[in-house]
Symmetry: C2
Subunit: 118 residues, 2 copies
């Protein structure tokens, strides 16, 4: 039961991470945060977007667990949470692993039926 | 201009791929298809879901470019398209690359300030 609940929580966390990544503004923010923490104004600067809309994107990122933020005085600083992105990356890498194994098996099979070319 | 259009198309394709992956049923279908093509009924079998709802998930996957399908008589067979998932995996791997480089730099820095422990 605990194990099942953990599986549900893990699936929900992947749902939210992939949902958060399904938007070019949010991906650009993640790419920027990969270089280090940044304030909301620094993050908003490159975007031609009203601040409330931009802040909404930051909220989606934080709700998904991909980022976290801290307010000091009037300045909010956003930081990336590598573990969540690592989880999403790991899921995709696993899928790739399955195909690549299949392609290797196909290569092996083709090698066995290949006629010597001389 | 062409280059800009290509960048927009690439971003849209990532949007759709991540959106498609933001759902546990669709991720389970992708994981299943990693083992090889399957018919719609074979794919639907493990899910306790009305067929029209399930088919809707297959449509989202196909629209995102993650899968393709072919109908022969009354049977539709679905196949994975590795290139799209590879693109999403590559984007995530790039983000990881950026952090890991930063962590390495931090390690190097810590090594320079570390006092010998004897």
């Amino acid at each position: 039961m605990v194990c099942q609940l953990e599986a549900v929580a893990a699936a929900e966390s992947l749902d939210q991470a992939f949902h958060a990544l399904a938007n070019p503004t949010r991906r650009a923010v993640i790419a920027r945060l990969g270089k280090g923490p940044a304030t909301v104004s620094e993050l908003a600067e490159p975007f031609d977007m009203a601040l409330p809309s931009f802040v909404q994107h930051l909220r989606v990122l934080e709700a998904s667990g991909l980022t976290t933020s801290k307010k000091k005085g009037r300045v909010r600083t956003v930081t990336i949470r590598p573990a969540s992105i690592r989880r999403a990356a790991r899921w995709l890498a696993q899928q790739r692993g399955i195909w690549e194994q299949r392609l290797d098996q196909l290569d092996d099979y083709l090698a066995t039926i290949e006629e010597p070319s001389q």
